[in-house]
């Protein structure tokens, strides 16, 4: 085979491994704020994803080893797990992960071929199918005051828990609270006095968001992700929320509050930056991120669900081919990036 005969030492495995490493601060914050339940969820999702990935690779006639060791299935599993309520029942985790790996990834052609972000497809399916389970979030330990041990968490996840126990540990998330409050004709300021809210975001939740932000900055510093998608995403959220808040501060949450709901930081740095289902051009990345950010606020404000990151990302995934086609950058020598009907 002709040149080049040298390569630098990057690999898909390395890229994915760094993504996992960058998620660790978020996971640590999660454990600290909400208890160790997330670890059980992560483990279960990982096992499910690996088994499903191996089975699908085998079924599709691909060599299992190089594709399993690329760690992409585990990244999908972790991202999905971090979006789920940390005490979600085991079948919810397994169903979501299976759907993400089998349908959203492999039925679309496997690594590099999926049009939609697999983790977000899994999440969206669960949210639509099991809305009750998907919104039963444990409250921050600081508020519920009932720290669950790892074993207790596992018992709840695998065995279910009496409603009384669950009610004791779960409570409405800040976004839920805001939504419910607004539906009851309260103003934002009134709602924000509830204990679930913290300095800028939700109590505890804002620290989780901060941890995701820190991990994301690591990815950016390592040039695993480009600054364009996260920055545009955050800008989209901030501007859209700020615009609404500016006109009616009583009915629309503050931009900082929206920014520090953890799903935005996770979405901006880890989910929207998925290269496979995202835009590839520099301008396209900005449009993709900004669009996802604005859609997040639109869905949060007027949509049927309290959070909109997953749907916003999925909607922008659909637009990627179009965005890419019309944002081809000019090439060396000044020709437009894409020339219709050019021929030598």
């Amino acid at each position: 085979m002709p040149a080049p005969f040298v390569i630098d030492h990057s690999s898909v495995t390395q890229v994915m491994a760094w993504v996992l490493v960058a998620l660790l601060p978020g996971i640590a914050a999660h454990v600290w704020l909400f208890g160790p339940g997330i670890l059980v969820t992560l483990a279960l999702a990982t096992v499910t994803a690996v088994v499903a990935e191996a089975a699908m690779l085998k079924a599709r006639g691909y060599p299992v080893r190089p594709f399993l060791t690329d760690l992409s299935a585990i990244v999908t599993a972790w991202l999905l797990a971090l979006c789920l309520p940390s005490l979600a029942p085991w079948w919810l985790i397994v169903t979501g992960t299976l759907f993400a790996i089998v349908v959203a990834k492999h039925l679309y052609g496997g690594l590099g071929q999926n049009v939609f972000n697999p983790a977000m497809v899994g999440y969206a399916v669960l949210l639509i199918s099991f809305p009750v389970q998907m919104t039963s979030w444990p409250g921050p330990l600081a508020l519920t005051g009932t720290p669950l041990s790892l074993a207790d968490s596992a018992a709840i996840i695998f065995g279910g828990a009496p409603k009384a126990v669950l009610d004791a540990v779960t409570m409405a998330t800040p976004l839920d609270t805001l939504r419910t409050g607004l539906l009851q004709q309260h103003t934002v300021d009134e709602i924000m006095t509830q204990p679930i809210f913290g300095h800028v975001g939700g109590a505890g939740f804002e620290w989780l968001a901060g941890a995701f932000l820190a991990g994301g900055l690591v990815l950016w510093a390592l040039r695993i992700i480009s600054w364009r998608v996260p920055l545009a995403f955050l800008a989209g959220v901030w501007l859209a929320a700020g615009f609404l808040h500016f006109f009616d501060a009583g009915r629309y949450g503050a931009p900082w509050f929206h920014l520090f709901a953890p799903s935005v930081m996770l979405g901006a740095f880890f989910i929207a930056t998925d290269p496979v289902s995202g835009s590839t051009t520099p301008l396209g990345k900005l449009i993709f991120g900004f669009g996802a950010g604005v859609l997040t606020i639109i869905i949060r404000t007027w949509g049927g669900y309290p959070d909109g990151v997953a749907f916003a990302v999925l909607l922008m995934n659909v637009a990627v081919p179009l965005i890419d086609q019309y944002t081809q950058p000019r090439i060396y020598g000044g020709a437009p990036g894409r020339e219709k009907g050019s021929s030598r």
Binding site: P4, V15, I331, Y332, G337, S343
Partner: protein
């Protein structure tokens, strides 16, 4: 050194591996027993042989002349006897043979008479033709005939860039040339300047070659024209012509155009040196500097006669066990050779011997994850991941829309790809398919045109024949009509009758003419025999007719 340098987009930092070979002085490689000199060493038409098998040739003697404007002559690199003219293995990745002239050297290395060219006395066009006949071609790798590049044509070339970039890892021949022969390089530049009318001369050298920069600067001080020797940042592919232009001038060559369109011409330092040898010494291009490096005992540079088998040089540098192949060029753009016995040609800047330790086999390829690292490093500012997608799918039209042909095949994209996709191979494949299709299309268009002309020709011939016959009949009729009209006016019917009668008479006369002549004087027995046979024939004819008649009379 007040020049503001510009940074071209993309590029990668590579381990340069220059120290292996740039520490040893240049050695002249001995004359090999046999020289194999390909006729296609440059871009354009291959040279046309002007010697015959068995002919004695001298060093520097022209053995194949340039064929057309974009072509260059080929010379005997040493004295000896021509032993073969025909296909032989050449340094091409395909491993296909091509026409070569093989010379059995006599060891005398005897020069043909040669003298310097008084370049100032010659008209520019004549000088260029002389250079073409000296076999000059770009030694940076593209081997484009230099005479063509030295013709400014309709453009003025105020800026002449002498490229001492040599950004590929492992290669050091330009480095050594600049260190040791800076003065002659600038002598060559003097001639280039004369032909192009350039007013600004820039020498760009990557800053990982401080000795070369110092040598060139020292030499430049002694010239009567201004030469700016500029250190450029070391980043691959800074030595690419387009990248060097952007670094030094901040200008980009428009897509699909030549650098002369923006008033800039670029020559490699090796070409300038070869030009100086040609003009000031009368020596055609029969040798060049070649870096022999990689998996050899003593990596170094040789002054090599064109046509020397690569293996001779590898032997000189110290062959080692465990070699896994030979590359011509560097690890980023070099081509694997079908054999180490292929000859050194004008384009051979480096012979890189591979081993598993130096060049481990590339890991298995994974699917593209669209991470766009390739786009970040692409110096042509393309979207390699899209080109890959189209090339892989065979959608060559789309690949062209996305500027496949602006790809310079530098290999940066393949280098950084985390999925280890041989991207450049896909682009080469797509380009060569597109070229093949264009060739097929041209052939089909030609066949269609020829077929249509043939149909037209057949039609025309038929018409011409019919017209000729009609004209003949018309003439005859007129003649007869005139005849008939003379004795007295007769009707059209009479004319026709006469026509028929005339035809009958003609036919009878013809029949009589062709009556067999061998039965004129026969002995009586033979005559009888013939009559008997004739009678039998008549009888058979009679018999044959009868059942037919009965058949017909049946109700």
């Amino acid at each position: 050194m007040t020049r503001v340098l510009h940074r071209f987009k993309g590029g990668v930092h590579l381990p340069d591996h220059k120290a292996e070979s740039n520490g040893r002085p240049i050695h002249a490689a001995p004359v090999p027993r046999q020289l194999v000199i390909p006729l296609r060493q440059h871009i354009g038409n291959p040279a046309r042989p002007v010697v015959e098998v068995g002919q004695q040739v001298l060093k520097g003697q022209i053995i194949a002349e340039a064929d057309g404007y974009i072509s260059a002559a080929v010379h005997a690199s040493s004295s000896g006897t021509v032993t073969a003219i025909g296909p032989a293995l050449v340094p091409h990745v395909s491993g296909l043979p091509d026409d070569c002239i093989t010379i059995e050297t006599d060891g005398r290395d005897a020069w043909i008479d040669h003298a310097p060219i008084d370049y100032q006395a010659l008209a520019p066009a004549d000088l260029r033709m002389r250079l073409r006949d000296m076999g000059l071609a770009g030694l940076g790798g593209a081997v484009f005939p230099s005479a063509v590049k030295l013709d400014p044509g309709a453009h003025a070339c105020p800026t002449l860039i002498v490229n001492g970039g040599e950004c590929e890892p492992w290669i050091t021949c330009d480095d050594l040339l600049m260190r040791t022969r800076a003065d002659e390089i600038l002598q060559g530049v003097r001639v280039m300047r004369h032909l192009l009318g350039s007013t600004e001369i820039l020498v760009g050298i990557e800053d990982n070659k401080p000795e070369a920069i110092a040598a060139m600067q020292a030499a430049a001080a002694g010239f009567d024209f201004a030469v700016e020797v500029i250190a450029v940042p070391t980043i691959y592919p800074a030595g690419g012509a387009k990248q060097m232009i952007e670094t030094l001038t901040g200008r980009q060559v428009p897509s699909g155009k030549l650098s002369t369109d923006i008033g800039i011409q670029v020559f490699n330092v090796g070409t300038a040196y070869a030009l100086a040898r040609a003009v000031f010494h009368g020596e055609p291009l029969i040798s060049r500097l070649v870096t022999v490096t990689g998996h050899v005992l003593r990596p170094q540079n040789f002054e090599v006669l064109i046509g020397t088998p690569m293996q001779r040089l590898i032997d000189l540098a110290g062959d080692r066990d465990g070699a896994t192949g030979v590359l011509m060029g560097g690890p980023m753009m070099g081509m694997p050779m079908p054999s180490s016995e292929v000859p050194v040609v004008k384009a051979t800047n480096c012979i890189l011997v591979k081993s598993d330790a130096l060049f481990p086999p590339l890991p298995a390829m994974l699917p593209c994850i669209r991470c766009t690292r390739c786009a970040d490093v692409c110096p042509a500012e393309l979207q390699p991941q899209e080109l890959f997608r189209f090339a892989k799918a065979g959608d060559f039209g789309r690949a062209q829309e996305y500027h496949l042909f602006d790809c310079i095949e530098c290999g940066c994209c393949s280098y950084v790809c985390p999925s280890h996709i041989p991207l450049v191979d896909y682009y080469r494949y797509a380009k060569s398919e597109i070229w093949a299709r264009e060739r097929e299309k041209r052939a089909a268009d030609l066949a269609r045109a020829r077929h249509e002309f043939r149909l037209f020709r057949l039609e025309r011939e038929k018409k011409e024949k019919a017209e000729k016959l009609a004209a003949k009949a018309q003439a005859k009729r007129a003649e007869l009509a005139a005849e008939a009209a003379a004795p007295g006016a007769t009707g059209e019917a009479d004319a026709k009758k006469a026509l028929i009668a005339a035809a009958l008479a003609r036919a009878q006369a013809k029949k009589a003419e062709v009556a067999p002549k061998n039965i004129d004087q026969l002995p009586p027995d033979k005559q009888r025999e013939i009559e008997e046979i004739e009678a039998r024939r008549a009888k058979i004819r009679e018999l044959a007719r009868q059942p037919l008649e009965t058949d017909e009379t049946k109700p």
